[in-house]
């Protein structure tokens, strides 16, 4: 819109030709030009404004914006200009460092996952806070006789498995550091051999870390012939460190729960790296 006015001024100036007032007209135009273009604010070098007078087309305006000369320092004093240049350079360096630090942090958070996995593999902790147990520990462990824990047993079957699976004792009283034996019984009432595979769960979760099975019947395929009934033992112990854990002070009941699934060919249970 402002451009129209300016071309009008320009044409007037051309038409005026040798009129003495032409010069004053152009200066008036120059003074009015900042007001006529409200969408362009800020001070501008005098010659830059005149250059845009004749090129008011949209495409050429855009081109003018792209081909903008680099931002000039605001002051004309050469000493402060040098300082401004130095500040600008310093700001750019700081911005580069900050951006690099942000990108590095983001990369570190992504890299932490495989690195932690590697650390667990090398130290052998395997995701559990308690270090691995050896048979030497079983040999040398001392039962904590004043802490009696009740272990209850639970048995479940998956809906598609037609076994009768139940514990042979509902509960057993053990102390940490002493090995104990418990039995489950499973019967196959069908006329076909069925293969089952089981997994277990210990409640409460924190106590489950101290519950160690020396030998049991889980995570391996167990085959039952038609009309066969077997006893399935579980040989376990509770780590004596259980008695020293402050979080376990109120834990007197641990529930061991087994669930049997039918093992189909090609169907893999997510067993924990066993065999």
């Amino acid at each position: 819109m402002g451009g129209l006015w300016l071309t009008a001024w320009r044409s007037l100036e051309l038409c005026a030709g040798r009129w003495g007032r032409a010069a004053s007209l152009t200066t008036a135009g120059l003074r009015l030009e900042p007001l006529l273009r409200p969408w362009r604010s800020g001070t501008r070098a005098p010659d830059g404004g005149l250059r845009r007078l004749g090129t008011w087309g949209l495409r050429s305006q855009a081109r003018g914006l792209l081909l903008q000369p680099p931002r000039r320092p605001k002051s004309t004093n050469p000493f402060t200009r040098a300082q401004e240049e130095a500040w600008r350079r310093r700001n750019k360096t700081v911005l580069t460092y900050v951006t690099a630090a942000a990108v590095a942090m983001l990369g570190a958070s992504y890299a932490a996952v495989p690195l932690y996995r590697l650390y667990c593999q090398t130290t052998g902790l395997g995701g559990s806070a308690v270090a691995g147990h050896g048979s030497d520990q079983i040999e040398n462990m001392v039962p904590v006789k004043d802490r009696i824990i009740k272990v209850t047993f639970n048995a479940d079957v998956h809906a598609s498995l037609q076994w009768n699976f139940r514990p042979q004792q509902t509960e057993i009283y053990v102390v940490p550091g002493e090995t104990a034996l418990a039995f489950y019984k499973a019967k196959n009432p069908t006329d076909k051999p069925v293969i089952g595979i089981s997994t277990y769960n210990v409640v409460p979760f924190e106590a489950g870390q101290y519950f160690n099975k020396i030998q049991c019947f889980c995570f391996e395929e167990q085959r039952l012939n038609p009309q066969e009934e077997v006893d399935m033992p579980v040989f376990f112990y509770i780590d004596p460190e259980f008695a020293e854990d402050p979080r376990m002070v109120n834990v007197d009941l641990i529930t061991l729960s087994y669930t049997f699934f039918e093992a189909k060919d090609g169907h893999k249970l997510p067993v924990p790296g066993y065999h």
């Binding site: 057993i172 053990v174 391996e220």
Partner: protein
């Protein structure tokens, strides 16, 4: 296995047993020992500490019949029971 869909809570990680899985006793070779153990448990109100010698007998039966990898009983936590036996034998 707990299939809790809670974000952030730790889920239970089942661990494989230390010595693997018991082979099934299809022929019931150690059934007598198992019945003795269960009777002892019921008599002692399910206190595991009182029936440890019966459980030791059961595991020994399994080891004899190749239903369990043979292992010195001290390593299975029966060290105190083994220590008692030589003493009783000496007395006899």
């Amino acid at each position: 296995m707990s299939t809790a869909m809670n974000f952030g809570t730790k889920s239970f990680q089942p661990r494989p047993p230390d010595k693997g899985s018991f082979p099934l006793d299809h022929l019931g070779e150690c059934k007598r020992f198992q019945e003795k153990f269960m009777k002892c448990l019921r008599d002692s109100h399910f206190e595991s500490a009182r029936c440890r010698s019966e459980s030791k007998d059961y595991l020994e039966c399994r080891m004899e019949r190749q239903l369990m990898a043979p292992e010195p009983l001290e390593k299975l936590g029966f060290g105190d029971l083994m220590a008692e036996e030589p003493a009783t034998q000496d007395r006899c």
